[in-house]
């Protein structure tokens, strides 16, 4: 019983709310990719290992679209607008959707009548083909990144949960006058110095005074904020989350309310019976690939543009792909709400590990969670526990 307090002693509970938010933001992207895995599996019983590469191509599409709008490496264009971001999103989704359909048409469809292992190996083959073949025609060395100017939403939203100590804050503000005066004196001295990093003794003294005053002020502010609790949400990431939720609502509507969705559900329930009932299964499968891949494209576009500076190479989709796959299995592969749940859980698990001070095991946790879930509930959290005949 004494172990628990010891474990808890090292934890910083003030960062917990922020870390939970970070985890959900991260998990939303995993969920978006996991949806593609789970939808394809639901209909075809195939793990589409090339899905991560579709994600990668989505990032490249977003990059090229941003270039065509003038946001090149040289950084010629400075102004952006939500319209440009929406255009990038739509182009990425469309291109990825068609890439998914093409992969299905030329790689998986010829294999459909073969044993399932053949399709799986084809999937791995396509994945490697795109990773290494992509290097021939995609710019990857040095890896480019989408310009930070694309994202006009740079600020952040602060949600105060607990205010700062106002008495201490007022005290801190009194120190501000000294900061301004010492800074002014130093700036005045700088005019007569020729190099701000090789100062005369007088300059050094004034600089030290200015730095000391600023440090005192900052320490006072930090002290006042010590017990305050603020959740900081970068605007870009909030937009990512909102877009993800909107896309998921559209997906639910598509699957649950439309004829195409009903056909998809029918095919996933019983493939042969659906085709006997007059459902064109080829169309349904192509549709499934289109939707799943478009979601990956959306995730890739947002990942590459809102998390500014992220380098894009042909292996861009590999780690997110593996993690999203785990998320899909975790939630119960073939189950759409399960993929979302699995994604969010994965994101939370990762940030919680960092929060607990074991950041080194961040990537390992995904697989530990998977092993535990598979041991306890082999079908995944929301999956059916049906035993499959081997």
């Amino acid at each position: 019983m004494t172990v628990l307090p010891d474990l808890l002693a090292g934890l910083e509970f003030s960062t917990l709310p922020q870390q939970l938010v970070n985890g959900i933001l991260l998990g939303a992207i995993y969920a978006l990719i996991a949806l593609g895995y789970t939808m394809v599996y639901g209909v075809l019983k195939l793990i589409n290992f090339a899905h991560g590469e579709v994600f990668m191509l989505g990032a490249y599409t977003a990059l090229f679209t941003s270039w065509s709008f003038g946001f090149t490496q040289a950084g010629s264009r400075q102004d952006s607008s939500p319209g440009i971001l929406i255009a990038m999103l739509i182009v990425s989704m469309t291109v990825c959707g068609f890439v998914g359909v093409l992969i299905e048409r030329f790689a998986y469809r010829p294999m459909r009548s073969q044993p399932r292992i053949a399709s799986l190996i084809t999937a791995i083959g396509i994945s490697l083909l795109l990773q290494y073949g992509g290097q021939l025609f995609l710019p990857s060395s040095p890896p480019p990144s989408i310009s930070d100017k694309v994202n006009p939403f740079k600020g952040n939203i602060e949600i105060p949960l607990k205010p700062a100590d106002s008495a201490l804050l007022a005290q801190a503000e009194q120190l501000k006058a000294k900061v301004t005066s010492t800074k002014a004196a130093y700036d005045e001295q700088l005019k007569s110095e020729k190099d701000s990093f090789n100062l005369s003794p007088v300059g050094k003294e004034l600089r030290t005074a200015s730095q000391d005053a600023e440090r005192d002020y900052r320490n006072a502010i930090d002290k006042a904020n010590k017990d305050a609790l603020v959740i900081t949400l970068p605007q870009g990431q909030v937009i990512m989350l909102v877009t993800t939720v909107v896309l998921m609502i559209i997906l639910t509507w598509l699957v649950m309310k439309t004829t195409a969705g009903r056909a998809m559900r029918a095919a996933s329930l019983d493939f042969d019976a659906a085709s006997l009932m007059g459902i064109n299964v080829n169309t349904v499968i192509a549709f499934t690939f289109f939707i799943g891949s478009a979601l990956a494209g959306a995730g890739a576009m947002m990942n590459a543009s809102f998390l500014g500076g992220t380098k894009i190479d042909t292996f861009f989709g590999m780690l997110p792909g593996v993690k999203a796959f785990v998320a899909a299995v975790l939630g119960g592969i073939g189950n759409i709400p399960g993929a979302v749940l699995g994604g969010i859980l994965m994101g939370l698990a990762e940030t919680m590990v960092i929060w607990a001070g074991y950041g080194n095991y961040k990537d390992a946790i995904a697989f530990i969670v998977l092993i535990v879930v598979l041991l306890v509930k082999p079908g995944g959290l929301l999956g059916s526990n049906k035993v499959e005949k081997v």
């Binding site: 910083e12 960062t15 970070n22 985890g23 991260l26 793990i47 040289a74 950084g75 399932r116 292992i117 799986l120 791995i124 994945s127 290097q135 060395s141 040095p142 890896p143 480019p144 990144s145 310009s147 930070d148 740079k154 952040n156 990093f197 030290t208 730095q211 000391d212 600023e214 440090r215 904020n225 900081t232 970068p234 870009g236 990431q237 990942n303 998390l307 500014g308 500076g309 992220t310 380098k311 190479d313 292996f315 590999m318 780690l319 792909g321 593996v322 796959f325 785990v326 299995v329 592969i333 990762e350 940030t351 960092i354 929060w355 950041g359 080194n360 990537d363 598979l374 499959e388 081997v390």
Partner: protein
């Protein structure tokens, strides 16, 4: 059945991910014992083994010299610049008549920005009969080259590999750059004395031995000066989301952040640090930041940050001017984007100068001659290897990151080798 299949393939994918994820320059192949030596070895530590193999000899009228560089992959900016610098040195020598009437031929090998690639490239060069190898920039790559070269008795002059224990691989390895035992403390001194920082947090790339050791040397010196290292957070090359780590660092209210990794991750980290609301925190790093790519990946967030570098295009030493004029002539008036052109030039020239003084034209004599180098006038400063076990005492420059229009890296302060410790 399905789950089992998917599992196996998940593992395959993971294994591939692990193998490919190492593209930054780390080597998973280095044994733990070699890794551990780094923490104890001092620059002057003696006891370097001499390779026993015979090495290559010059046959015919051409002297073959090899260079390994990252011509593809993440570190292409460094690889390209170092090879260009080496070519210049060779061309200058050949124009001046070569060595004993023999011309020098430079053979390039591509490390593909990976440790395994560096090893393969080095082995290929050795079997092609090169008398010595120049390269690499990343420490993890260079260690592999050094190991291969040791078995064959071929000398290696590293260009930008700063990891301290590298030259412990044997007497055949030396370098033209400073070591991490120097650049970490330089940045610590700069942060404490010039920027007036007292509470610094570290962010370390756990996949790069370079980053791990640099964080350590920075932290040790910063603490010795009286500052506090409030927290160290870890990430891995290839990661794109850093919000978890940044939140943990933010809770400690640091006034500075030392990012010891390579430019590929430093840019996104800088952007996310600013987005998380840490507007005033000073960002600092080592020579791993040295690429104009940093401006694209870091955007506005990285401007006004400081890092440690080997030399600067704007220095007013005559050697720098001569080098830049010659470089511009061969490159349509463009200055090199990174310092690796100058270091590549220095490394090549140092080897060729040693070859002139060598008793005979073979690897063994060349190793001896390189280790006898004294007061070699390089572009990046004067280099003496004799008595320093392959680690020349060098000066380091602290530069500020500015927009491309101001020249990317603006020289701020120089530290001489004897100013630290």
């Amino acid at each position: 059945m399905n789950i089992q299949f998917s599992w196996k393939h998940g593992l395959i994918a993971l294994a591939v991910a692990a193998a490919i994820g190492c593209n930054g320059g780390d080597s998973t192949a280095t044994t733990p014992t070699v890794e551990n030596k780094g923490t104890e070895a001092t620059p002057a530590a003696a006891g370097r083994k001499a390779p026993t193999a015979e090495g290559n000899k010059v046959e015919g009228d051409v002297i073959k010299v090899g260079i390994v560089g990252s011509l593809t992959g993440d570190q292409k900016p460094w690889g390209e610049d170092s090879v260009e610098g080496a070519k210049m040195a060779v061309e200058e020598l050949n124009a001046a008549g070569g060595i004993n009437g023999k011309k020098v031929e430079l053979i390039t090998g591509d490390s593909t920005s990976k440790a395994e690639g560096a090893k393969t490239a080095a082995e290929k060069l050795i079997s092609d009969g090169v008398i010595g190898i120049i390269g690499e920039v990343a420490s993890g790559h260079t260690i592999q080259i050094a190991k291969s070269a040791f078995d064959k008795g071929v000398p290696v002059v590293a260009i930008g590999a700063t990891k301290t224990d590298l030259t412990q691989e044997g007497t055949h390895v030396s370098r033209v750059c400073y070591i991490d035992d120097f650049q970490g403390p330089v940045m610590a001194k700069f942060a404490y004395e010039e920027l007036g920082l007292r509470k610094v947090a570290l962010m370390t790339d756990n996949k790069q031995p370079y980053s791990q050791y640099l964080s350590k040397t920075f932290g040790d010196k910063f603490k010795a000066l009286g500052g506090t290292i409030v927290k160290e957070a870890f990430y891995e090359s290839g990661q794109t989301q850093f919000s978890g780590q940044i939140t943990e660092l933010k809770a400690e209210t640091p006034d500075g952040l030392f990012l010891s990794g390579y430019f590929t991750e430093v840019g996104p980290i800088a952007q996310q640090v600013r987005q998380a609301g840490l507007k005033d925190v000073k960002l600092m790093g080592g020579d791993g930041w040295d690429s104009p790519q940093l401006l694209t990946s870091g955007g506005d967030a990285i401007l006004g940050s400081f890092f440690c570098n080997h030399y600067n295009n704007k220095e007013d030493r005559p050697a720098v001017k001569t080098f830049l004029d010659a470089y511009k002539k061969g490159h349509a008036g463009k200055e090199p984007g990174t310092t690796m052109a100058a270091l590549g030039y220095d490394a090549t020239k140092l080897m060729l100068e040693a070859l002139k003084k060598a008793k005979s034209l073979d690897s063994k004599s060349l190793i001896e001659a390189i280790n006898e180098t004294e007061n070699f006038a390089g572009v990046s400063g004067t280099i003496t290897l004799k008595g320093f076990n392959g680690n020349p005492p060098k000066r380091a420059l602290v530069v500020e990151v500015r927009p491309q229009s101001e020249g990317f890296q603006v020289f701020r302060k120089a530290y001489e080798a004897d100013e630290i410790k």
